[in-house]
Amino acid sequence: MAKNKNDLQQYQVRKTKGWVNVLISIFLAIWAIINLYPLYWMFTFALKDNKQILDTNKFGLPEGAPNKWFWSNFKEAMNTGPIGRFFLNSVIITFATIVITTLAAMMASYAITRIRWRASEMMNRIFMLGITIPIQASIIPVYLVVSKLKLINTPIALIVPYSAFSLAMALLICNGFMIQIPKELDEAAYIDGCGRGKVFFSVILPLMKPAVATTAIYTFLQCWNELMFAQTFLTGEDYMTLPAGMAQLFGSHTTEWGPIGAALVIATMPTIVFYILFSRRIQDSFIAGAVKG
């Protein structure tokens, strides 16, 4: 009897002990707090005055009922500079970059993975160097050319370099997706009399929809935060991106913390709302890129 019991145990999946699970949960909870608390603190100090932030109420919610909170900070923040405009500029520039990068990468990926030619593998490797090349590599020559062409302070001055530097990663992801599309589809289309162009646009592109989301998220991550090119190439507020514009706003020191917090909240809110709505898709697309790459 005892022997049988032993045998049975050997085939039972060993569960992690209860206290270990508790420890894991505590660790994860602490890490989640480390991630969230600074953001929570930002949201709360945006609604306080200096006395609360620095002295009487450092950690908690703003004092009093919500109508007593310092909503005026937001009004003041809006007056310091066109934060909404900066955000919109960033969205436009990032979106244009995503469109250009994705299209260029899809086309190149088609030529590299679906047409047989001798140097295709080599071509791919050369493009892949782009993953390692830092964006700093070209700032000086691009700056000189851009200023000669009188394109300083235009969105194009950012969109083109951003697209170029996002290209390698996008191509890597597109290749991963495109290899999985069966070759028979192309061949069937050729037999039906389609040319390469037709096959690309009406057979391949529709099947690459999942890749679009993935390249978009990686491209977004590469240009949304970019500060160096943005600060160098944009001089006026009209086209400034969020990073460049916000950096300029905070260049002029304000002693009141509340409006600064409010400005940070205004700049962050749309991203957070978007993330809450699409977090699963964003994560899944990101994960797809990691696996394909």
Binding site: R14, T16, I24, L28, W31, A32, I34, N35, L36, P38, L39, W41, F45, L54, F59, I100, A104, A105, M107, A108, A111, I126, F127, G130, T132, P134, I135, Q136, A137, S138, I139, I140, P141, V160, A164, F165, L167, F200, L221, W224, N225, L227, M228, L242, P243, M246, A247, F250, I260, L264, A267, T271, I272, Y275, S279, I282, I287, A290, V291, G293
Partner: protein, 298 residues
């Protein structure tokens, strides 16, 4: 069947947009930087041939500390070391734990990835306020009793006290743990469930499954993470620019701050190009080094 010549044209047309971007913005400027790095050049007018002078200047001890190239590389490599030995293990740990299918998996994943999406400038400003002498960190230290009643506030952002560099590192590490975590989580999840279950039926604990089944299959993704972390550290700029508040910081100088100092403040494009060239070489060197180390582990 289509002729070879026709295909050649098609291939070229399909590659054209990517090639234009790649050659126009990456290759040609890199070549131009390499050439400019041997000249004295103010961005306009005559170029004067200097040979290696621009490079020598970067290592010349007579120049101020904040433009000493060697120091800036040491700072960047220190950041890389922190990233590889603290940030990545943390990311791997989180990825493995969440990959086991713990309760609230998606919630933790979302929360940990959130800082990645927030603008670096916002994060920089937020951490400036956290590190402010009267800011959150010192307040928390008082709350837990590390700072006593009469103690002075700690100057986290002051130059010359050896803390500024770390005050720049912490937000960087904090922001991108989630990025690496999600990359690695993808690796964890790509291990077939049957493999996991088979190992567990054989009596392996969760730790053993992670150690002997999951981690070995993640080599490729860990390699990518390490390359991103190291080259990312070498080219770091945004957060340092914001936290250190100006380019002339000797405590937190990195190659990019020196590059921008020479380019935008001094208008010395030759020396700035030399920094760019060295930065590219460093990035390639470390990317190849890391790939080789991972290959040898096979």
């Amino acid at each position: 069947m289509k002729s070879k010549k026709y295909d050649g044209v098609t291939i070229f047309l399909f590659l054209l947009p990517a090639l234009l971007l790649f050659v126009g913005i990456l290759i040609a400027p890199m070549a131009s930087s390499a050439i400019n790095s041997f000249y004295q050049y103010k961005g306009f007018g005559q170029k004067t041939w200097l040979g290696w002078d621009n490079y020598k200047r970067l290592f010349d001890k007579d120049f101020p500390a904040y433009i000493q190239f060697k120091d800036s590389v040491v700072h960047a490599l220190l950041l890389a070391a922190f990233s590889v030995f603290i940030q990545l293990p943390l990311a791997l740990g989180l990825a493995l734990l969440l990959g086991r299918g713990i309760k609230g998996e998606r919630f933790f994943l979302s929360v940990n990835f959130l800082p990645v999406l927030i603008s670096t400038v916002v994060i920089g400003q937020l951490w400036l306020k956290i590190f402010d002498p009267r800011g959150l960190l010192n307040s928390l230290l008082r709350l837990v009793g590390y700072l006593k009643e009469g103690d002075d506030n700690i100057q986290w952002l002051a130059e010359g006290q050896g803390k500024l560099l770390y005050s720049c590192f912490i937000p960087m590490l904090w922001q991108y743990v989630g990025y690496h975590m999600l990359l690695m989580y993808a690796g964890v999840k790509s291990v077939p469930t049957e493999l996991r279950e088979a190992a567990k039926i054989d009596g392996a604990t969760d730790w053993q499954v992670d150690r002997f089944v999951v981690i070995p299959s993640m080599k490729q993704i860990v390699k990518v993470s390490v390359i991103f972390a190291v080259t990312g550290s070498l080219k770091s700029y945004d957060l340092i620019r914001i936290i250190a508040m100006n380019l002339s910081t000797k405590d937190a100088s990195v190659p990019s701050t020196i590059l921008m100092d020479y380019m935008t403040l001094r208008g010395e494009y030759g020396v700035a190009s030399a920094v760019a060239v060295l930065l590219i070489l460093l990035c390639f060197f470390f990317a190849i080094l890391i790939s080789t180390i991972f290959k040898e582990r096979d």
